[in-house]
């Protein structure tokens, strides 16, 4: 079986209030030296496939169609064997 690990993040330059809140939160409990925090989603998608090329094509399409909104988000993924 193949597993696609997809990461969806807000595009660079788009304001990430969640990241900022976490950043402030970390500072307020005493963590120093944090420069920036960004928060995104990670999806683990297990596929009944064995062919990597096929999996890649499928995951690309999934991201385009549903997993990320290209207006605000960018995605990347990795495919691993499990």
């Amino acid at each position: 079986m193949l597993r696609a690990i997809v990461t969806v993040m807000l595009k660079k330059g788009i304001f990430d209030p969640q990241g900022r809140a976490v950043h402030n939160g970390l500072e307020s409990i005493g963590f120093e030296g944090v420069k920036q925090v960004r928060v995104g989603k990670q999806l683990e998608i297990d596929l009944n496939l064995t062919d990597r090329a096929e999996a890649k094509k499928m995951v690309d399409e999934m991201c385009d169609k549903m997993l990320a909104n290209p207006v605000v988000e960018s995605f990347s993924y990795e495919i691993t064997e499990v």
Binding site: L10, G13, I14, F15, D16, P17, R20, A21, N24, N69, P70, V71, V72
Partner: protein
């Protein structure tokens, strides 16, 4: 002055959205050619969004004054008096274009933006509403995604910021397929003495920016919102702002704390064209100039150009005009809430709008010229479709055999079915003022510590306005008023949202003009002046064309005593059911014709504004006399649907006997105006009928509330409708869920 030449030979102004004649005009105002920064200032301020270039000349028709009107159009929001030295402020705003491409964020920031308008008046935001228009969800997965995301965005922002979302509307038509409408409204409460203005008085006073950091968000949103929505325009896509309701909540707390002190002379929220428009407007009102140094603005991103800083639409920011010497005190309060308040400039006496970068002037133009956007009065032309649609005759359609089936279908249809799927995602109770929740005709909020309350509603009817922009628009105003009146609230004033296509086309301009006339006439007749509003034009796409002309009305009313609120559901067996008004043989423009016969045809029902006003006065009087058990207006789907709704909500049946001489479908589902459905306990029925007769309002007892959980309607002994309530309720309650699950 900076030596930078703008390369205007390349007709940069066209790229910025200015016409050649506008460019010539601004050059004349300036006495020279502008540089890039200055060009950006004009391009933003003279856009439709900021400058109301096509709508401003038409606004003169609106009635804007009245005994309860404290502030009409011209400030961030209008203000009405609700007695006891207390006032309400309210306004609506569209966020159509952002919501079309990033529906979650677009809708969320729409809610955030209108809340800041209310905050800028000095008021505490007590309620949000929204009016949403989409294509039919059964058609496309994309539409269902839009609906989910928009509702989610509105909910998430409102819930988090702690302002209850207490009402709204959700309507569907193919005309909105390519261009959904998302209009948000907010209502605020304050004491009269707490009113703030958007004005930059006092030479030397400081301009302070508070709230979020400034980034490249919504770059050029103001001019972006004034363009046709073209597909796949990547530049526009970069314009999406992200909302942070948590920041907004802090901003509300901090601002209201600062307003308690005598530190601030003026306040303005930052909406379209951000720092620029907020500061220009405040300066212009005071007849002063301002000077702003972009280097002082706290930024989120590096290497921002001066014009980017000036027009950025980063959310959750406000501009305060602070008395000289009080800056530190203001900052201290913001600091307490983990926010900054930073001086970015000051008020000057030379009437110039001056932009500096690190102390060096990079742009300088007269303030008045930025506010003096050229306006366009075009000549409208009745749209061609009107000839076709108005030629409709009732005889063009047959009366369906199975009227029960028609009723069930209508109850489950998109415009009519229960919108609980939507409003259960909204916290409609936070702040603990919601006396009548969403799901009734209007929502009612109490004013803490008083016996009085406030009724709020948002209404529109794009199909009516498409088929008759003038009377259709009148109908929208009176429908909003009906929703308030049946709830026990006396209508006070409206805010309007003008959602139209491209006004530069004659038929759209005609619709716009007619709609404004219609709104104005109805507002005059009902004594509900227009105290503010918003225009969103260019709502069209190459693929789907223009939207229906859609004026949206947000109306607020006063409930003098909470004892006198009424809801739509039947209350008790044996109560008499009374129909007010005249039922004519009118099928045109109806929901029935659209849903059952697939026809958007005919003229809208006749509307007599005087009769309407009189009927509404009667209902209020009856409610205040404690005579009514329930009250509901007749709207989409007509008499049969209204009866069914009162039955479903009350979990009680009804037996109705009519004696009309018109087609059965017109009788049951026609949408003749100025009609209401009341119920009254038998012991008060005579008194009610006498009162109606005295006031010249047509009233007929048409049946009784029953416990047999059946809905039965007969006309002249003929059984037209005979249905178990459970079937009606199921259609009504599950219609929305079913719609959102359709594959397509």
């Amino acid at each position: 002055m900076t030596e930078k030449k703008a390369g205007m030979e390349e007709k940069l102004w066209r790229k910025a959205g200015l016409t050649d004649s506008e460019y010539a005009l601004l050059t004349k105002h300036m006495g020279r050619e502008p540089n890039v920064v200055e060009l950006a200032l004009y391009a933003q301020m003279w856009s439709e969004h900021c400058g109301y270039t096509h709508t401003r000349p038409l606004f003169k028709h609106f009635p804007t004054t009245g005994p309860r009107i404290v502030q009409g159009p011209g400030e961030n929001a209008g203000i009405v008096d609700i007695d006891d030295d207390e006032v309400l402020t309210f306004k609506l705003e569209s966020h159509n274009h952002p919501s079309a491409i990033a529906p979650f964020q677009g809708a969320a920031t729409g809610v955030g933006g209108i809340i800041r308008d209310i905050l800028a008046m000095g008021a505490y935001p007590i309620a949000s509403l929204n009016s949403l228009h989409f294509g039919h969800p059964g058609d496309r997965g994309h539409t269902r995604w839009l609906i989910s995301e928009v509702v989610h965005g509105i909910g998430e922002y409102g819930n988090c910021v702690g302002v209850p979302t207490v009402g709204g509307e959700l309507r569907f038509a193919d005309a909105y397929k390519g261009n959904p409408l998302v209009n948000a409204m907010c209502v605020g409460y304050m004491k009269k003495s707490e009113i703030k203005k958007a004005i930059a008085t006092g030479v030397g006073n400081s301009l302070m920016i508070v709230g979020n950091l400034t980034g490249r968000d919504g770059m050029g949103g103001a001019s972006f919102a004034s363009k046709d929505l073209e597909e796949e325009n990547d530049d526009d896509r970069g314009a999406i702002q992200v909302g942070d309701p948590f920041m907004e909540k802090l901003l509300i707390e901090a601002c209201l704390e600062v307003f308690q002190e005598d530190y601030v002379v003026g306040v303005q929220d930052m909406g379209a064209a951000g720092i620029l428009s907020s500061s220009v407007e405040t300066a212009s009102k005071a007849g002063n100039g301002v000077e702003i140094d972009v280097a002082l603005v706290p930024k989120r991103e590096e290497a921002m150009r001066p014009e980017e800083v000036m027009i950025s639409e980063s959310q959750e920011r406000m501009l305060l005009i602070v008395k000289k010497g009080m800056e530190e005190k203001v900052n201290k309060i913001f600091h307490k809430w983990d926010l900054h308040a930073v001086v970015i400039g000051h008020v000057t006496d030379d009437g110039m709008y001056r932009v500096l970068e690190d102390g060096k002037t990079v742009g300088e133009v007269p303030v008045w010229s930025l506010m003096d956007a050229p306006t366009y009065e075009l000549v409208g032309e009745a749209p061609a479709h009107l000839q076709r649609t108005q030629s409709f005759k009732n005889s063009d359609v047959d009366v369906p055999d199975d009227l029960n089936q028609v009723l069930i279908k209508l109850l489950g249809s998109p415009d009519i079915c229960s919108k609980e799927w939507v409003y259960r995602q909204y916290d409609h109770r936070v702040q603990m003022n919601t006396v009548v929740k969403p799901g009734s005709d209007a929502s009612i909020l109490r004013i803490k510590g008083r016996d009085k309350g406030v009724g709020v509603t948002m209404d529109s009817n794009g199909r009516y306005c498409y088929l008759n922009p003038r009377t259709g628009s009148q109908s929208v105003v009176v429908e909003a008023a009906r929703n308030l009146v049946v709830s026990g609230a006396e209508p006070i004033a409206i805010t309007d949202g003008l959602n139209f296509g491209n006004p530069e086309t004659p038929d759209v301009y005609y619709q716009l003009e007619q709609a404004i006339m219609g709104l104005s006439e109805a507002c005059r007749a009902l004594n509900t002046p227009v105290i503010g509003g918003n225009a969103s034009l260019y709502n069209q796409t190459p693929e789907f064309g223009a939207i229906y002309p859609t004026p949206i009305v947000g109306m607020v009313g006063l409930v003098k005593s909470l004892d006198h609120t009424t809801t739509m559901e039947f209350k008790a067996e044996g109560d008499h059911i009374i129909l007010l008004g005249t039922t004519r043989e009118e099928l045109g423009a109806s929901e029935y014709l659209d849903q059952i016969h697939g026809m958007v045809m005919g003229d809208v029902p006749e509307l007599d504004l005087e009769e309407e006003a009189q009927t509404q006065a009667f209902i209020l009087k009856a409610i205040r006399a404690g005579l009514l058990s329930s009250a509901h207006d007749l709207g989409d789907g007509g008499l049969a649907v209204a009866i069914a709704e009162s039955c479903i909500k009350g979990e009680l049946g009804a037996h109705i006997e009519l004696d009309a001489n018109i087609r059965a479908d017109a009788l049951l589902f026609g949408e003749s105006q100025s009609r209401f459905l009341l119920s009254v306990t038998p012991d008060k029925a005579d008194q009610l009928m006498d009162m109606a007769a005295e006031m010249g309002v047509e009233a007929a007892t048409i049946g009784k509330v029953s416990t047999d959980k059946k809905l039965s309607i007969k006309n002249n002994e003929t059984q037209l409708i005979d249905r178990d309530l459970a079937l009606c309720a199921d259609a009504f309650n599950t219609g929305f869920d079913k719609m959102m699950k359709t594959d397509g």
